[in-house]
């Protein structure tokens, strides 16, 4: 943070190092536990019956507390996709070139109403299409966290 004081100081740069520990809430806690068992779990609104994944306590459309846990996937449909030629520099912000483009997609898992955003591998950027079917590829060793879902691959 300290800078030399030669010449005019026009700008000062400060790094703000802050660590956050967000409570995920009971619904996500269960979601993570189920990931360990290689299950993707959603929850259903008792009023409109929509299934949400990741699970959330409130269905905002009905303003109702969700109830029934439903296993969703492991397959899903690509609702939309993109591939990143760049990524965001998580330290300084701004854009960084990528060595390999990363495909990400809005995926509607079977039985779910909502979509998750995740990466797709094992396919060329030229070949991805809206409506194609994909399935989850689990990490070899699951630990009950987001890394358990490694990526999605096309269903052949």
């Amino acid at each position: 943070m300290a800078k030399s004081i030669e010449g005019d100081i026009r700008e000062l740069t400060t790094n703000i190092d802050a660590e956050y520990n967000w409570s995920v809430g009971g619904y996500m806690e269960k979601f993570f536990r189920e990931l360990k068992g290689k299950k993707i779990t959603g929850i259903r609104c008792p009023v409109c019956k929509k299934v949400y994944v990741p699970p959330r306590m409130i269905c905002e459309y009905c303003f109702a507390e969700t109830k029934d846990w439903i296993e969703v996937g492991p397959r899903g449909t690509v609702v939309s996709y993109t591939y990143g030629n760049i990524s965001i520099d998580m330290e300084k912000g701004g854009l960084k070139d990528r060595e390999e483009p990363e495909i990400i997609a809005l995926i509607k898992l079977d039985k779910a109403h909502s979509c998750i955003v995740h990466r797709i591998k094992k396919i060329d950027t030229a070949d991805i299409k809206v409506d194609m079917q994909v399935e989850v590829v689990w990490a070899d060793v699951t630990a009950g966290n987001l890394a358990d879902i490694e990526y999605f691959k096309p269903v052949r």
């Binding site: 703000i16 802050a18 967000w22 809430g25 009971g26 409130i58 905002e60 303003f63």
Partner: protein, 406 residues
């Protein structure tokens, strides 16, 4: 301008860590309670106003993620953030929306989930940009702390004590009163029934005259209020609480100034902006002699000595006279002008919510729904206050059991 009233109130019990819920879920508890209190559903809402202090959770505009949990789906929604006064600024945003004539029923939501973040970072980043140049010159650590929250409030306290004759013993006694009040408040974070001034005086000194026992905790908590037009309020509530006057006033923060260049405001105890805001709010409410007409006050008191300062700056007595009135018992629950019967911010501080809770607590007292902390006298008119920034943003709200404008 049309009359408006509070018709629903929701509060969560403040604690240091609500690890069982995430932010949207925590705030939902207050929202649900407020909607149930008003007997309405989100479909009845015409708009939402929300706010918190983003540095504490590390989330930018958290209503984007959480708004749906709070009844915000496809509603007009605005976000207001002003530091410690946020809760009051949010409430005033809701007052303006209803009073404008365009929105009949508006939900005001304010919260903080301090346990998700780092309160020190949150507070330091208020001052970091201004002291960054100091660090370039080698100043660090204690000098930076001095410009952060503790430093500023220490200056405010000592300046006030020098002018008013308030002693550290007064502050110890104020803290004891507030802590005992909080013990009667099921929503308060720190509840220390039976604590005495002598107990407070034994707590470690942080920086003269602030003792540990004089300071606020950091809390997870939320508050929501439903505001409605007169016509709708009378249908929804047996006892609407009328929002008759409100104003805010901003001044320069004292001492440090931009980039450490100093400020024309040299006395953080003066709080002229509070007096100006109070004057306007009382005028709007038709209150001519607040020291006579106000039955109850909830100033924003995160540090016990501020009970005296803001009692005076809210024009409830002559300057310098608050400690004497306190000694006479005026501010007690059974006193003539009970002050912070809730236990004040010094007992519960989820920063974003704290200033709205002052308004909610006044409303509960007017309704006679304050349970064990209900004051002895009948409460007709009450004043609530929020303080934000580096004690330079003041927000004052005047509530009543009767609408002032006919």
């Amino acid at each position: 301008m049309r009359n408006l009233a509070i018709v629903g109130i929701g509060l969560t019990k403040h604690v240091s860590k609500r690890r069982d819920v995430n932010i949207p879920e925590l705030v939902y508890e207050a929202v649900k309670a407020a909607l149930d209190d008003a007997g309405i559903h989100p479909k009845d809402l015409d708009a939402l106003v929300t706010g918190n202090m983003p540095a504490f959770e590390g989330i930018n505009c958290p209503e984007l993620w959480g708004g749906g949990y709070w009844g915000g789906y496809r509603k007009p929604l605005i976000r207001i953030t002003t530091g410690g006064s946020t809760g009051a600024s949010v409430a005033q945003g809701a007052f303006y929306l209803v009073a404008s004539g365009l929105y009949d029923i508006v939900l005001a939501v304010a919260f903080e989930k301090q346990s998700d973040g780092n309160t020190t970072i949150g507070l330091n980043t208020t001052a970091l940009a201004d002291v960054a140049n100091m660090t370039a010159y080698g100043l660090s650590g204690p000098e930076i702390e001095a410009s952060g929250a503790i430093g500023l409030f220490v200056y405010q306290a000592t300046s006030y004590m020098a002018k008013s004759g308030c002693t550290i013993e007064h502050i110890d006694r104020a803290a004891a009163m507030l802590r005992n009040n909080a013990a009667k408040n099921p929503y308060a974070h720190l509840q220390q029934a039976g604590v005495t001034a002598a107990d407070i005086a034994k707590t470690p000194m942080i920086s003269y005259p602030l003792r540990f026992g004089h300071t606020c905790p950091t809390s997870d908590g939320a508050c929501a209020m439903v505001l409605a037009t007169e016509e709708k309020a009378r249908k929804l509530s047996r006892k609407p609480v009328w929002v008759n006057g409100w104003a805010a006033c901003s001044e320069e923060p004292a001492i440090v100034g931009l980039f450490g260049a100093g400020s024309i405001n040299v006395d953080p105890a003066e709080q002229r902006s509070c007096k100006l805001a109070a004057t306007k709010a009382y005028a709007m409410a038709g209150i001519k002699e607040p020291w006579k007409e106000i039955d109850l006050a909830e100033p924003y008191v995160p540090f016990a000595y501020q009970l005296f300062i803001y009692f005076e700056r809210l024009l409830l007595c002559d300057e310098g006279n608050a400690p004497r009135l306190f000694d006479k018992g005026v501010m007690e629950l059974d006193g003539n002008l009970p002050t912070c019967p809730s236990g004040a911010v010094v007992s519960s501080n989820a920063i974003g919510a704290a200033a709205m809770i002052r308004i909610a607590e006044c409303a509960l007292q007017i309704k006679g729904e304050a349970g064990q902390r209900q004051v002895t006298k009948d409460v007709h008119n009450a004043v609530a206050h929020g303080l934000g920034g580096q004690a330079n943003l003041n927000v004052v709200t005047v509530l009543s059991d009767m609408p002032s404008r006919r």
